[in-house]
């Protein structure tokens, strides 16, 4: 590892369009505290007429549980209700989930992923509705997350055929993998961004042996707050998208590309 060099984000760079891209969820999250007092029922009744094509999914509440263990004493348990946190709506086709919360807005596109333009445009439309009602004054955190899942052919556990760098067993002990969980957090010199990259496996249910999927979860984020300015939001999303693409295309092998083409 040498001294990190400042990189140059080139948002006009073109990336290959993959018709069978393994994206199971694409998320844009804008964390921003509501300044308007929002009540569960009034917020819902105000939102619903503005969300044509969406239906109410559920109300978000916060809970937590703690178990305290002390030597020689019976364990004590504490469960708390943290109260109402927001509302979730789902599009009629079940492919879009929008969360309108006290601390921000989250938009998810589930598989199949369509296009960046569609993701950005729908999230922007819903964010403007949220902004008008919740009246946030600043964006505290912006996240762009793409979760990819590649189902491996039955019986195949050659991770190096699909992702790079692939996990490797300890030197001198060449044992087969049962699973792995690898998380990297990367800084982006010269820019206010960070990237969480998680590579892991998931045992699939169903089928003869269940099978295994590889997950590549790319979460580009910034915690440098900025004022509500659409042009800044647009530029940041565009730069974050470039970073996401660079991570994705730099993490899969040629064999995987063939699967997604």
């Amino acid at each position: 590892m040498g001294t990190p060099q400042a990189i140059h984000i080139r948002t006009d760079e073109q990336f290959e369009n993959l018709p069978r891209a393994p994206i199971v969820e694409a998320v844009i999250e804008i964390r921003s505290r509501a300044t308007q007092t929002l009540g569960e029922s009034s917020f819902r009744s105000t939102l619903e007429p503005r969300l044509a094509g969406y239906g109410f999914l559920d109300s978000l509440r916060g809970f937590y549980g703690e178990v305290k263990l002390e030597g020689g004493k019976a364990p004590t348990q504490k469960v708390g209700d943290l109260g109402w946190r927001g509302l979730r709506f789902r599009s009629m086709d079940g492919k879009h989930i929008a969360q309108f919360k006290l601390d921000g807005f989250v938009f998810s596109r589930l598989e199949p992923y369509l296009t960046w333009a569609a993701l950005e445009s729908e999230s922007k439309r819903l964010w403007n509705i949220y902004k008008g009602l919740a009246r946030p004054v600043e964006i505290q955190r912006l996240g762009l997350r793409f979760i990819n899942r590649v189902k491996l052919p039955p019986g195949e556990l050659l991770f190096e055929d699909y992702i790079q760098p692939a996990p490797s067993s300890p030197h001198g002990l060449d044992l087969p993998f049962h699973g792995f969980m690898h998380k990297d957090t990367l800084a982006v010199p010269g820019y206010p961004y960070g990237i969480n990259v998680i590579r892991t496996t998931q045992q699939l249910t169903g089928g003869v042996d269940g099978g295994v999927a590889l997950i590549l979860d790319i979460d580009v984020f910034t915690t440098h707050g900025f004022e509500l300015d659409d042009s800044v939001l647009e530029r940041r999303l565009s730069e974050m998208r470039w970073l996401k693409n660079k991570v994705f295309f730099g993490s899969i092998t040629e064999k995987a590309f063939e699967m997604f083409r």
């Binding site: 999250e29 703690e66 800084a187």
Partner: protein, 165 residues
């Protein structure tokens, strides 16, 4: 060198990801949490292993009723307790254990004390704000950072400075 670059580019530390709604997002969150919890439960690395989370529960329970100090103090709410627990869990692994206290306005206080001239106090409000005050030799610093599930780097840096030998 790399750490300096990372610190300048990322202004908070922690594990709160961009929220997802799919089953795969939930699976990833659970797996990531499992790995970190194992380390948090160890004495060397975690607040749970050092007994800080137990101290937090005890303080929250002792101060959950109004007038817990006999002078009209506001109660520590479940929400404040939960925010304090989240904040402790997002601190870098291996950080020295703080002491826990409560204030008459219902805020929970987390304090790192090395000497009377090297202290850091972080108060957590029910609204999710972290009010901090540091005394490091002749230097004083204070401020407020919103808490969104990541430990602000400015506070983490003060912890390191207070505890530096």
């Amino acid at each position: 060198m790399i750490i300096e670059m990372a610190t300048s580019a990322i202004i908070s530390i922690g594990s709160a990801p961009t929220y997802g709604a799919s089953e795969t997002a939930l699976f990833v969150a659970q797996e990531a949490e499992k790995g970190r919890r194992r380390l948090e439960d160890s004495y060397t690395f975690g607040m749970a292993g050092k007994g800080v989370l137990s101290e937090l529960i005890e303080t929250a329970i002792a101060c959950r009723e109004p007038n817990w100090d006999g002078y009209g103090a506001a109660p520590v709410t479940d929400s404040t307790y939960h925010l304090a627990e989240q904040f402790l869990r997002t601190l870098p692994l291996g950080i020295a254990p703080p002491t826990i206290g409560a204030e008459p306005d219902g805020q929970l206080t987390i304090e790192w004390f090395r000497s009377p001239r090297r202290t850091l106090s972080v108060s957590i409000s029910p609204e999710g704000n972290l009010h901090y005050a540091a005394l490091i030799g002749a230097a004083k610093a204070f401020g407020t950072e919103p808490f969104y599930g990541d430990a602000p780097v400015v506070i983490v840096n003060f912890i390191h400075r207070v505890l530096a030998s």
